[in-house]
Amino acid sequence: MDADSRNQEKIRLARRTVQLVLRLGLALAVVLMMAGLAIRLASGDLTAQGVPLFRLFGNQRPGEDLMALGLLVLAAVPPLRVVSLLILWCRERDTRFVLVAITVVAVLLLAVAAGGG
């Protein structure tokens, strides 16, 4: 296998990995949200209320926990995609983009800290 073919194979692996992270994360989030919404519809309680991040669980309204968990899983997908690419570029020894991905992860951690503060 020549260098071009190996590089092309790495590009395919990166695409497949990112696709897998995005699709699995989205699918899990959608299943959780649909289940929560179905439970809520069945209960007949259609009052909308805010659910703070740090009091996510233990809600009294039926299905609220599942819907909130689905939203949280969805919010975790983009950061997971960044981490997946970081790992793949580490394996490729693409130093420039490893540093770029580490910087993005650092900013996202800052965002979580800012949200909690």
Partner: protein
Amino acid sequence: MDFDLFNLVGLVVLGLLAGWLGAVIGIGGGIVIVPTLVLLFGLDIRVAVASSLVAVVATSTAAGSAYVGEGLANMRLGMSLEIATTLGGVTGGVTAVLLPESVIGVVFAAMMVVTATLMARKREESERAPLRPVRTGEVAAASPKEGWEQRGGLGGAYYDAHLGTLVTYRAQRLHVGSAVSFFAGILSGLLGVGGGFMKVPAMNLGMGVPIKVAAATSNFMIGVTAVSSLFVYFARGFIHPLVAVPVVLGVTGGAVTGAFMSQRFAPGIVRWILVVTLLALAVQMGLDAFGVSLGR
């Protein structure tokens, strides 16, 4: 707020429309969701912004997955711009409660008019520029229909179904894209939009990236931008699951449909959809800034 089944169906339909538009023209769809939730559903704008940010993440995730598979999104270019866009997102989210929205609205409307004008004046020929030769360090595609991206750099190629050929490109002036991405991130955090309406022209006009790659890469990175400010809204209780979930479910369906349809659109059509959308939203933003809202 009490909803009924009719309201919930309306939220799903809104999501479907926003997701389709977002995937086809490279914006997160949030720019449709926020005004609709405020004007038609009577929700607090912060709840609308928070719901929109979640929908933006769903749009980017669904459409980004399709674009990555087609080799349209340039992941290295997207990650490079994400440094600036996430910094902007955090800044926008944290300062959202401090700045008067009317000030941002005026700047926002003016910027959209300028961007729409530049996009409208862009000549069709630039979409059909001669292909650049593949240089050492890049890789030739194993299949003539398979796109690729340069290891260690910001170049790549994509297969354009409309032209029927592989188009190579090399992104330039990263500082221009980064500067615009930072401001796009701030607006994303403040207004709940993806910021694609700024990033796509910046990549296309400022960095020399073909518009289809720019739209796909923008869609790919919009989710990370939205998440950087979403946690601020989430922590403060502005996420209402009964509002956000139906919108997100609709957006997911619309985004998947739109992503597959975008490859069958001519670049000119994609650009004109973007121009018309920007002008319409600029009018709305301008009216809002002066306290005039249509339908309220």
